[in-house]
Amino acid sequence: MATTTAPIAAVHEQSYSPSGLWSWITTVDHKRIGVLYGVTAFIFFLIGGLEAVLMRIQLMRPGNEFVSPDFFNQLFTMHGTTMIFLGVMPLSASFFNFVVPLQIGARDVAFPRLNAFSYWVFLLGGIFLNLSFFLGGAPDVGWFGYSNLTSKQYSPGHGVDFWAVGLQILGVASLAAAFNFIVTIINMRAPGMKLMRMPVFTWMTLVTSFLMILAFPVITIALVFLLFDRFTGTNFFMASAGADPVLWQHLFWLFGHPEVYILILPAMGIISEVLPTFSRKPLFGYPVVVYSGIFIGFMGWGVWSHHMFSVGLGPIADSFFALTTMLIAIPTGVKIFNWIATIWGGRIEFKTAMLFAIGFISMFIMGGLSGFMHASPPSDLQQSDTYFIVAHIHYVLFGGSIMGIFAGIYYWFPKITGRYLGEGLGKAHFWLTLVTMNVTFFPMHFVGLLGMPRRVYTYAPNMGFNEMNLMSTVGAFGLAFATLIFVANVLRSRTHGAPAPADPWGAPTLEFAIASPPPVYNFGSLPTVHGLDPLWSKEAKDIIQQVNTVKGHIHMPPSSYWPAVSALGMTMLMSGIVFGWWVGIPGLVLMLVGFYSWSFEPCH
């Protein structure tokens, strides 16, 4: 390895040489965009976490007056919206960006400038949504925004407008990114990289991208209806005009349930990479894990009304959605069994990435089982809209998605930066996270079963909720502290971490054949793949030789500021719905200029 890394380091210095703010604004390099996604999303994740801590302080004791009821409603609405749309989804997108082209042996994504555009739209959309805190109040109707509470009559302020327009803006970013990754994965695989030779993370990216392009139009339509109702007096959801507000719930959850899988499938992909590497053993049942992921993606479309068992859709609908929901537990269970079988018989090294991957499995099992408990509608009627569900979603989304994402960060950080993340701080981060997430969320199962509804800013002192709420609050502070350890670890390791070689873990996938960090063109010449786990195959030496040898001239797309300009124009255009024509019209002009210039920009 020593002989190949030295010349590559030299190429790398040169290829990364454009530095400074401007180079980040104009970059179209999937790796740098991946880093931008990751850093931005993590900052939003911290904001969402701060919102959670404020809520936990308010609920620390009954009748507390730490925040006002109105602000509390803003907090839980923005916490949910932020964690889903600005935290977990873009953190996953960060890995799509950085890892997928490297895993399939490509030089970049199919549409590098569209990729930059997605990022800038996401950033500006997130800023727009959070501006609402300073411009008359954030949305306060829950992340699910049930009609008719969102109508002008019951929500006269601008919070709902910020929410609806913000989600539309973010939807554009998600759709553009999803199309980009589908085209990239279908078209840009290295020679020999057949679909069933793709790493599972790439597979889950593909499935997730299909879910995004199918799910986001549904919420887009629902939000357009809502905006028409609020701004032009139409009656899509107005019961007083004969409409059925339950239509919103169907549209929202028809998007919202696939969205749940958009949040979890990438994390499942990540741990399917991490577990084999640190077990020194290939993934058990690769095709079954892949097909389970695809099956979950399909079935995710047939379960949405399990969010609506209390609406009164009738026994036939309730039974149907109960059965489909139970059915989707099978492929999920199969995945878990295959992961355990992967580490069974292996030689497990407990690096921090591996700890988080094992943490994912153990916590996701709990989230899955509590989910199984409210797949049964009669049982759900006692659990729906209580803290039991809050516990469930946090075991799935924190214990699942976030643990998976942390596993991914520890796993790919050396690849991204050329330095290891500190293992000591990493292990402190893991153990504190594991313990405090259980301190925070485990009591919520009980406080929910004992009758505490969700989304209440206060509760009576004589209900028996006091001790368990206090425990959750203590846990939340622990989680916040654990996250700060992680931040410190990243800041320190960026400059002081141990230097990482090309393949820091002895991993089997292509991204570990090239230098850490990779040169701007990724692969000196494209590898030829002969099977799964190329770096564990007998051709590994040839592949490493091949990808680290530059043959002929490599053409990379030049940087461009038009994606950022277009994104700014589009965000201004859409935010004009809230701010007025004086923002919208300049935005439209800027967007058209941006798209025009982008189209005719020379790419040499």
């Binding site: 109105d70 049942g285 690769y286 609406v311 039974s319 030689r347 009627l381 209440v456 206060t458």
Partner: protein, 342 residues
């Protein structure tokens, strides 16, 4: 290999105990400690749900112990140690895949059958002779009507033990969700629809409930109370409710309070049978007989009632009940009048 095996056994035992912990915790607590508990059923409906849940908990704990146990055993047994040989590169096993697809499918079938049966049983038509109650959700209080007795009341629901209560649910504004955990599952109160549920209380007592669907700023303050009475007590309550409001003696404090009620603006929103006809707020004909006020937020004492009327928005954010200009004397008179409306 002996040492890790023993460790694995210990861990399995721990996992088992951890799995049983929830059951132990829930069995150990009482409805007195946790009055709004969904785990202490006091009606046929709630018991059916509880039976189903117990079956689910059995499977969930079993699966939890087996799968987490397998994970823990794997992690301990196969941890890297010096001198360990390279693992065998096993790629899969068709038989295992089939087995762990079929096993969960069988468990699901075992749960699905009672689930569907309970869904249909609990959503069937209420038995004949049920007590009809119309529930209307308002931001942020509950209106209860008994068409059989022509009674309208608010926030406190009285029913006799042993007789089925058939509830119809409607809303005056946004979506709410009607939930007395001791009586069974919640049911949403949705605009442009009328939902139904029924339950037969099996023991007397007082049970708290509250709105379970986010309905605006005071969602947390939309509470209610259920009084399950003996049939005799219930009949006496009905007779009292059907009577007209108490009429104060002339020149008494209560009479002055009635005058305040008539002139200060209360009549615009509140009905006292034979006195006023407002419909935006709760019917107050027998407000003095209730144990709580403001959607079961405060005890119905003259002190609390006075504080509530003096500044409703301060005590229940967002409420449409206005802070009416009133002197302390007028307020005291009004409280005396309302308290007299037993």
């Amino acid at each position: 290999m002996a040492a890790p095996d023993r460790g694995a056994k210990w861990l399995r035992l721990c996992a088992l105990l951890l799995g049983l912990l929830p059951l132990v915790l829930l069995l150990g607590c009482t409805l007195e400690q946790y009055p709004q508990s969904a785990m202490h059923p006091r009606s046929d409906y709630a018991i059916w749900l509880q039976d189903l849940l117990e079956g689910l908990v059995f499977w969930v704990v079993l699966i939890f112990v087996l799968v987490e146990g397998a994970l823990i055993v794997a992690v301990i047994r196969f941890r890297a140690r010096p001198g360990m040989p390279d693992p065998k590169p096993v790629h899969g096993h068709t038989g295992l895949e089939i087995a762990w697809t079929i096993a969960p499918a069988l468990i699901l079938a075992a749960v699905a059958v009672p689930t569907v049966a309970t869904v249909f049983k609990t959503q069937s038509k209420a038995p004949a002779g049920a007590l009809q109650v119309e529930v209307i959700g308002h931001q942020w209080w509950w209106e209860f009507r008994y068409p059989e007795y022509q009674i309208t009341t608010a926030n406190e629901l009285h029913v006799p033990v042993g007789r089925t209560v058939s509830v119809s649910l409607a809303t005056a504004d946004v979506i709410h969700s009607f939930w007395f955990p001791a009586m069974g599952g919640k049911r949403d109160v949705v605009p442009a629809r009328t939902n139904h549920m029924w339950f037969t209380p099996n023991s007397t007592g007082e049970f708290p409930g509250q709105c379970a669907e986010l309905c605006g700023i005071s969602h947390a303050n939309m509470r209610m109370k259920l009084f399950v009475r003996t049939p005799e007590e219930f009949d006496a309550w009905v007779v009292a409710q059907r009577a007209g409001p108490a009429e104060p003696d002339t020149l008494s404090t209560e009479a002055r309070g009635k005058q305040v009620f008539m002139t200060a603006g209360c009549v615009a929103c509140h009905t006292i049978n034979g006195v006023s006809n407002g419909v935006l707020g709760p019917n107050l004909t027998h407000v003095g007989g209730r144990s709580t006020i403001a959607a079961a937020l405060f005890d119905n004492t003259p002190h609390e009632l006075g504080k509530w009327i003096a500044d409703p928005p301060a005590r229940k954010p967002g409420t449409s009940m206005l802070k009416l200009p009133m002197s302390p004397d007028q307020l005291a008179d009004l409280v005396a009048y309302l308290t007299s409306l037993k």
